[in-house]
Symmetry: D2
Amino acid sequence: MTDIEDLTARIRAFADARDWARFHTPKNLAMALAGEAGELLAELQWLSDEEIRTGLSEPELRARVAMEVADVFLYLVRFADVTGIDLAQAALDKLARNELRYPVEKSRGNATKHDRL
Amino acid sequence: MTDIEDLTARIRAFADARDWARFHTPKNLAMALAGEAGELLAELQWLSDEEIRTGLSEPELRARVAMEVADVFLYLVRFADVTGIDLAQAALDKLARNELRYPVEKSRGNATKHDRL
Amino acid sequence: MTDIEDLTARIRAFADARDWARFHTPKNLAMALAGEAGELLAELQWLSDEEIRTGLSEPELRARVAMEVADVFLYLVRFADVTGIDLAQAALDKLARNELRYPVEKSRGNATKHDRL
Amino acid sequence: MTDIEDLTARIRAFADARDWARFHTPKNLAMALAGEAGELLAELQWLSDEEIRTGLSEPELRARVAMEVADVFLYLVRFADVTGIDLAQAALDKLARNELRYPVEKSRGNATKHDRL
């Protein structure tokens, strides 16, 4: 079992045990995911890149950021579970597509496009 | 190598080959992550739960949603890579914490809290 | 002085008095705006449309939602101030543009497009 | 009529003419608002503060940013309309509250809190 499959199973058990699966519609989960992404922004928004680098080497900010990252991941895994999307495969497919869209030789040093991944 | 480790390595190679790693500060990646979460919202925002269920069983909406999910995941994995956060471990830690915060017997049927995972 | 101009001036005075203007780069303010939009999502994400309607007629949820709406508006007004964008004019321009893009007779009952405003 | 009242009336007429008011639930509008905030992030996410300053003095980026700002504002005004929240008053209330929470003498130069407005 991969780590994503393991996490999917644990989250599903967590939700089922609390009878929370009924709240977990795709729409609600997408909102929760975006809300957690917003909390990650809130941890970093007033800090300079230098302050973030320093802060992430210290336990307090590091723990807060790790927690927001975890929340985003939990909702993402749960969203993929309820919609039947294979998270790892979808990511690999998108990466392959981006490799075609952004050929190495044309993309080096070019900072005008939205995608950077 | 787990699927997250594999994906991390591939994204890193993708960024390095294009000299895009210099754009990948934690701040910029958090913005990109939140932007992609916003695109996922945009796919679902005018549809009812019923329309989403039907739509996700058809290839067009399914492919668009899978792509947004993939984008969120790619930026999340990349954010974890540049900040040195172990994504799977952070998620397991948060889930363990939520199991303590929301004991099964007190949480069943209770819909007043923000967390639902 | 319009209400937006008045609010712009008050927010500017608030920031200047605390020496916080130096944090108010367009990038940081855009992050704060998106973070507050995420908090608004968090207030509504587990509630059904019916529960939201009921909840908004009661003081508690109403106050919390009004506060998140206010936060989004404060950061939006501040973003417009530091970037020199005329908020009311930009909105009127966009609305005029949408009126051309979505002619009344072709748009009635059509729910397939992203824009709904 | 203030500019916010005027805009509220125009947006309402726009939605009613297209029979789109039925899509405009608080939940859907909050999603659209957050989605547009995400598009604003996407315009700025790969640019440095210096590139943003330069870019905003040129018509292309300026127009794109103004459009995203407008979209956020349109959905915010519409959200306030359908929920019966007085946008200007809510912002003034929140600002007054922040003035109490962040007294000038204790807040100068202090960059550790989330709020910066």
